[in-house]
Amino acid sequence: VTERSVWLPMLPAKDRVVFPGYHDLREASADRPNIFRENLGLGWAIYFRPGNFPITVPVDRSTEARVNREIYHDLQENYPTIIWAYRFPSLKLNHVLVIYHGTRDASGYHYLVYDPNYDDHPMHLDYDDKTRSFRYQASYYFKGGYVNVRAIYRGLVQ
């Protein structure tokens, strides 16, 4: 499963890798966590990812607005977005999340995200239309507040 590039199109049901005996990923990973941990991928390898270089390029508000539109559009089509949330050059946050649900109201956009640092509840990421910026909720490892957001794993250099 993990050898196939994540940006490739979704496979039809008949072509998918079947994991028998489980209802879903949560159940399978709870039953055999070490099998998953040992085979999902190496941690150090991500330091050499081709898509890492854009972190050095400052993110402007219009880019954030565009990324937000893309995220929301994809969610309408049932597609999650993997994002890189960071505060570079500050090292207060350097984290990757998966946005899987979003709503919109007068104040902006409100997203539910999968945070790999938590396995018991989703987290909240908001986009403010007025400031055209993302804000991530407080957690044990981040005080909360403004973050740069970049969509990643949409292609080889992302």
Binding site: I35, V67, E77, V98, G155
Partner: protein, 318 residues
């Protein structure tokens, strides 16, 4: 003649080898050395500096030797200026480049010098076969623009825009100018005049500096990639069709989590790293978990009615 054919065969990009001496007019001794090399058949051209101690002598020599092709050697540093007593930036080409780039007063002085030196060159009546500059400052974007404006489109000679080699090619000046020239020279290549070549005057192997004139514009490729990669990094292609089902929490997520390398409290790092085996083994995996989560959602399916695989089968995905 035979060696020339052999060279053209094996070095197709080195058809033109041009030997030009710079600094004609800088001093009487330099003039004599250039003239000696020319009369011995080793030198085809020389670049004339205006307003220098040996300029008048050089002009006289050039008139007496019409086979010596003369070009204009613009100078903006390490020389005697023609519109002021001395260069405010001294003899450093790097300082000259930064000053011209950043200071309007320096830019005005540069423009006045370019115009006046070209005027003086034309007043000699010598045909200008080519243009280059002292320490290659004409590749500076402001200098290049001013020079083209002064010379005009009617100029039929050639302009040296190869990759410059600095003298001496070391120290911070050389490093800075090497970088800026890679950038600017590539951008200026398109403006080279087609009749930029001098007659072939030597059968010696091509000088590495001159041979680079005809090589693919490597700096241009680097420059293009530098612009292209950020664009690719933001490239977005909308999904062709809606996915049959969304990713859902918690069933499509993992039952374990990534562990942090550092100890945290209230959102900040507390103390140092704690990576003892007994406590934290699965760290730095936020990229891995997020990516693989979507991979499972896209490429895997679960069959609760099937027989569970053993560990090896599960790991191989078969």
């Amino acid at each position: 003649m035979k060696s020339r054919h052999v060279m053209t065969e094996f070095f197709p990009m080195a058809k033109e080898v041009v030997f030009i001496a710079d600094d004609l007019g800088m001093s009487g001794a330099i003039n004599d050395a250039i003239l000696y090399a020319h009369t011995e058949g080793r030198l085809g051209g020389a670049a004339l500096m205006m307003g220098q101690p040996g300029t008048d002598d050089a002009v006289r020599l050039a008139r007496e030797h019409p086979r010596l092709q003369v070009g204009w050697h613009l100078h903006l540093t390490d020389s005697q200026p023609v519109t002021t007593a001395r260069w405010p930036w001294g003899s450093s080409p790097a300082r000259a480049g930064w000053a011209i780039g950043l200071l309007p007063s320096a830019r005005r002085l540069m423009e006045a010098e370019v115009a006046r030196q070209w005027e003086l060159f034309q007043s000699t009546g010598l045909p200008c076969r080519f243009i280059n500059s002292h320490h290659h400052l004409h590749v500076h974007p402001f200098v290049h623009r001013a020079m083209r404006r002064v010379v005009g489109d009617g100029f039929s000679g050639w302009l040296r825009l190869g990759r410059p080699s600095y003298f001496p090619p070391r120290g911070p000046d050389a490093l800075i100018m090497s970088f800026t020239d890679r950038l600017f020279t590539a951008r200026r290549r398109d403006h080279r005049h087609p009749s930029r070549r001098l007659p072939r005057i030597s059968l010696s192997p091509p000088h590495p500096h001159l041979s680079r004139h005809a090589m693919p514009a490597r700096p241009l490729i680097i420059f293009t990639l530098a612009l292209l990669l950020p664009a690719l990094a933001h490239a977005y292609v909308p999904p062709p069709a809606p996915a049959p089902h969304p990713l859902e929490y918690p069933q499509d997520t993992y039952a374990f989590k990534n562990e942090t390398v550092w100890n945290y409290g209230n959102g900040t790092v507390q103390g140092g790293a704690d990576t003892t085996k007994s406590q934290r083994q699965y760290t730095r995996r936020c990229f891995v978990l997020s990516r693989s989560l979507v991979q499972f959602w896209k490429f895997a399916t679960f069959d609760p009615n099937g027989k569970r695989l053993d560990d090896r089968q599960s790991a191989s995905g078969r």
